[in-house]
């Protein structure tokens, strides 16, 4: 259950990153797009890693 909650928190974080980058881009700010994409991919990898652990356990 704790893992599931953590997974949800990570996804909310990704959603927040996505929306803030989109909003920034609509205001002409593009500097955040690449770091946010890297962070989002990192969070996704953590989720995949947790899923693999769950499937093995």
């Amino acid at each position: 259950m704790a893992l599931l909650l953590f997974n949800l928190v990570l996804i909310l974080l990704q959603l927040w990153l996505f929306v803030s980058v989109l909003e920034g881009m609509l205001h002409g700010k593009t500097a955040m797009a690449l770091p946010a994409a890297l962070a989002s991919v990192g969070l996704c990898l953590v989720n995949v890693w947790m899923l693999r652990g769950l499937s093995r356990g």
Binding site: L4, M25, H27, T30, S40, C44, V48
Partner: protein, 160 residues
């Protein structure tokens, strides 16, 4: 239901609609992958938007049609993309998109202060480099690249 049939196909209807935590976790991880791909797409899009982009050159005017200390409006790269060419008092030229980076109102050239002023929310940009001087605009004005070809001024590209 036939007892033999039920033994052969033991469906537990109560469990049938149940989504296990593992399945839910899988679904959420898939959503996470989707968001990561979306973010990478945004990054690719933003890098395509940045930097210098060349378009079909268009003739703006003859240099002597724009006296120093004045400005001239034109459309580039499409006629509906409002831009402004400024002939500075020191003889140099610069051109920018006229769309204010705040909420897209058209900016006007103010010769006394040498700035591009947005009347909507009192935003102002430098008419030399397009940087923000005052007000709410979050980013400089995109610059239009100008070429002087034998006294004729041509717009050849846009720098974001």
């Amino acid at each position: 239901m036939d007892k033999a049939l039920q033994d052969d196909f033991p469906i537990d209807w109560e469990q049938d609609g149940f989504v296990s935590r593992r399945e839910f976790f899988k679904f959420m991880t898939l959503a996470s992958g989707g968001l990561a791909i979306g973010s990478v797409g945004l990054a690719a899009w933003s890098s395509a938007l940045r930097g210098e982009r060349r378009f079909e050159p268009i003739r703006i005017a003859r240099l002597d049609e724009v006296p120093t200390g004045t400005a001239l409006g034109f459309g580039y790269p499409r006629p509906s993309d409002l831009c402004i060419l400024v002939h500075h008092k020191d003889g140099t030229l610069s051109a920018f998109s006229r769309r204010c980076t705040h909420l897209s109102c058209p900016v006007d050239y103010q010769a006394q202060t040498e700035r591009l002023f947005c009347p909507c929310h009192n935003g102002a940009f430098s008419s030399k480099d397009g940087s923000v001087l005052q007000g709410p605009p979050p980013a400089p004005l995109p610059r239009v690249l100008i070429e002087n070809r034998d006294g004729e001024l041509w717009a050849v590209g846009v720098v974001h």
